[in-house]
Symmetry: C2
């Protein structure tokens, strides 16, 4: 008998019929003897409907405190409906708002962070045989104001509850049946992973795999909550995300190939090479709330340096403007912008103990004639920036080179 936290997103509870399917699933787990806490999002479309109402009143910046009061009703509605659906199936169930659990957060409305969860009342109801249906995405600050964790925060709620309750597993139900070696729309042979480590998942997620919220994975890793990604309406084991040591015996070198099209590159040319130049360039960019991803700096012979970094495409015009004025101040030779680039990464904790991953990656790209513009490496990830038009080609070449496909490639044929 396990204690399981299950999270169902907006699409999974998007209609009364789907709420019924979720209730059937939860009822099945309950009858198997598991104790269940369900975390739900608002019915799909509901959050947007509420936000649209607010924007009819105040199109620019509706008050954050009142936005939270407004949108938190979306999840509350779902909790009540699911609790009813469970009770109809003979399963004792009870709904909880974030405030009723007491999911204590800071007071950063619309993007609050969880500080503490009171597990007493929940444990008492679990001991009394209730399925608990908790509103995701929301909490309460120390003064009793309703807060929300920001979009997608329901995953975080689920993981935080699993950590607080010391649950055996946190299951995130989504519209995919697990985490794949890469995007199946790009590579036919992409394979569902049975397991992946938290770190690998973070690197995959931040590259746009979009299966799970990064915050939730970080949280799960920090508190060592086994996390499982499953399909809401299909059967299957999904992908278990867990600590590395539990996987050690079977860790492959590379877990998957991640990629991101939403990249743009900015270069400032011929900056005098002196201490503090990186800060002088990136300081104003950061002040403008623009996130910088890959950063590369090369020193030239003439005591100047070329400094290149990537931002998301939406931020490019603003970043370029800022960089132009920096270039004038620093008497640089000029600024170049390019938004036709993409990032491809190989991710795997196994590369820590396997030499040669980088050279294998570069070889595979060279073999299909792809030029590498920038390279950046971390302990478990190597990323390259390439021309966007070569993205699919690069992903397929790497997927095949690292034998990630359903049908293992014969190495001698490579």
């Amino acid at each position: 008998m396990s204690l399981i936290v299950q999270k169902f997103g907006g699409t999974s509870v998007g209609s009364i019929e789907r709420i019924g399917h979720v209730a059937d699933k939860v009822a099945r787990f309950t009858r198997e003897g598991h104790r269940i806490v369900v975390v739900v999002s608002a019915m799909s479309g509901e959050t947007n409907r509420l936000i649209a109402l607010a924007h009819e009143i105040e199109d620019r910046h509706p008050m954050p405190r009142e936005m939270d009061v407004l949108v938190s009703t979306g999840e509350q509605v779902t909790t009540a409906l699911l609790a009813m659906a469970l009770n109809k199936r003979g399963i004792k169930a009870k709904s909880y708002t974030g405030s009723q659990v007491r999911i204590l957060t800071d007071n950063a409305h619309t993007k609050a962070r969880i500080r503490e969860i009171d597990d007493q009342r929940l444990h008492a109801d679990l001991d009394n045989g209730y399925v608990l249906v908790v509103a995701g995405f929301q909490g309460v600050d120390e003064h009793g104001n309703i807060t929300t964790l920001g979009r997608g925060g329901s995953d975080t709620t689920a993981v935080a509850l699993a950590a607080a309750l010391k649950a055996d597993e946190c299951q995130i139900y989504t519209d995919v049946d697990g985490v794949y070696t890469t995007d199946p729309r790009v590579v036919d042979g992409a394979r569902r992973l049975d397991r992946i480590t938290f770190e690998e998942m973070l690197e995959m997620a931040s590259m746009g795999s979009k299966v799970l919220q990064i915050r939730a994975v970080e949280f799960a890793g920090k508190y060592n909550v086994p996390l499982r990604v499953l399909h809401s309406f299909q059967e299957g084991p999904g992908t278990l995300i867990t600590l590395e040591d539990k996987l050690k015996m079977e860790t492959p070198t590379i877990a998957g190939i991640a990629f991101n099209r939403d990249e743009a590159k900015l270069t400032i040319l011929g900056v005098p090479d002196m201490p503090g130049v990186a800060y002088k360039i990136l300081g104003p960019i950061g002040d403008a709330n623009i996130e910088v991803d890959v950063i590369v700096q090369n020193v030239a012979d003439d005591n100047t340096t070329d400094f290149t970094f990537t931002v998301s495409r939406a931020d490019l015009p603003r970043a370029e403007e800022i960089l132009d004025s920096i270039a004038q101040k620093l008497e640089a030779r000029g600024v170049r912008a390019d938004n036709r680039i993409a990032k491809v990464s190989v991710v795997g904790v196994g590369m820590r103990s396997h030499a040669g991953v980088a050279s294998q990656m570069f070889a595979a790209l060279a073999e299909v004639g792809i030029n590498i513009q920038m390279i950046t490496t971390s302990e478990i990830k190597i990323s390259v920036i390439i021309e966007e038009k070569f993205l699919e080609l690069a992903v397929r070449a790497l997927h095949s080179s690292f034998h990630l496909g359903k049908e293992p490639v014969d190495e001698s044929a490579a």
Copy 2:
């Protein structure tokens, strides 16, 4: 500078545009120097939408606890939107759920009663210059469960808050501009009353005037909260509902003519006249949750009695069935049912000190040839049951006889 509680119902906040009108009105009061607490209902249609969702899951008896969680979101949405609209107009405002105020109720879900209101946090925010926007109709029990006061309970919330905060006035904004001497759709000359007592209002409301929830008027009377009924979107003084002694100098004999078509009459004939017979008849009716209104018992010469009472028309078939079986047990002569009746009442605290109201009423009805079937009297009300088809005629005759019209009737002409 007064402290005023203002309540706006679902129609008054039924769209973003209307919420804007309400915000304009509240802003005007605030700029005049008043401190304002606003109580709001769900946007019109929203409560029904939520109830329909629940009935898609459980068509008979959705769990009361979860119904309250579900429908209480309706008012919460309005509070957030109105707070935003006020802030947009430069008025500091803050929303409150029933739970955040701590409107403590019993745990009778879907029909809870208020036990206590914590006014501390509200007073602190009022002192800091906030307009408070409170969700009507909802509270919280001692275990933190969300409760609702039942439909229309927002009026009760407003009055209870006014009592707890010792407000100078509780203003109920509706779709009528006040309380009338009788229904203007029946009598052309019906006149808006400037003032009426709590007791008179109760007698008028229970007869179907539908301007205010009875519970709210009772509450206001009990705690002596001056209550004013006003039109949401028209200017005007409305009708002030207050204690009798404040009106004494100007109290007319009769405040108005109330009536109710939703009446049906049941008679059990020839019951042996012995102690306890009334209980034997009405006990089983009450056990079936059927409310009885007028009751009349006459003793005949032969030691039997005819016992007549009225119920609402919807309850007639069930009441008749119960009465048939009672008649058999009591060996009564038979049962007669009639749903083509109506009740007409004259209401006024002034009749306490004025003799002859009853005879004037009966004379007025006789003059237009209306036969009285039953009569019942209280300290401030005389009601008669008549054939339904004479209802309008009766109301007009009484309205004129008691000089309630806009153009006072010349008495010598009567």
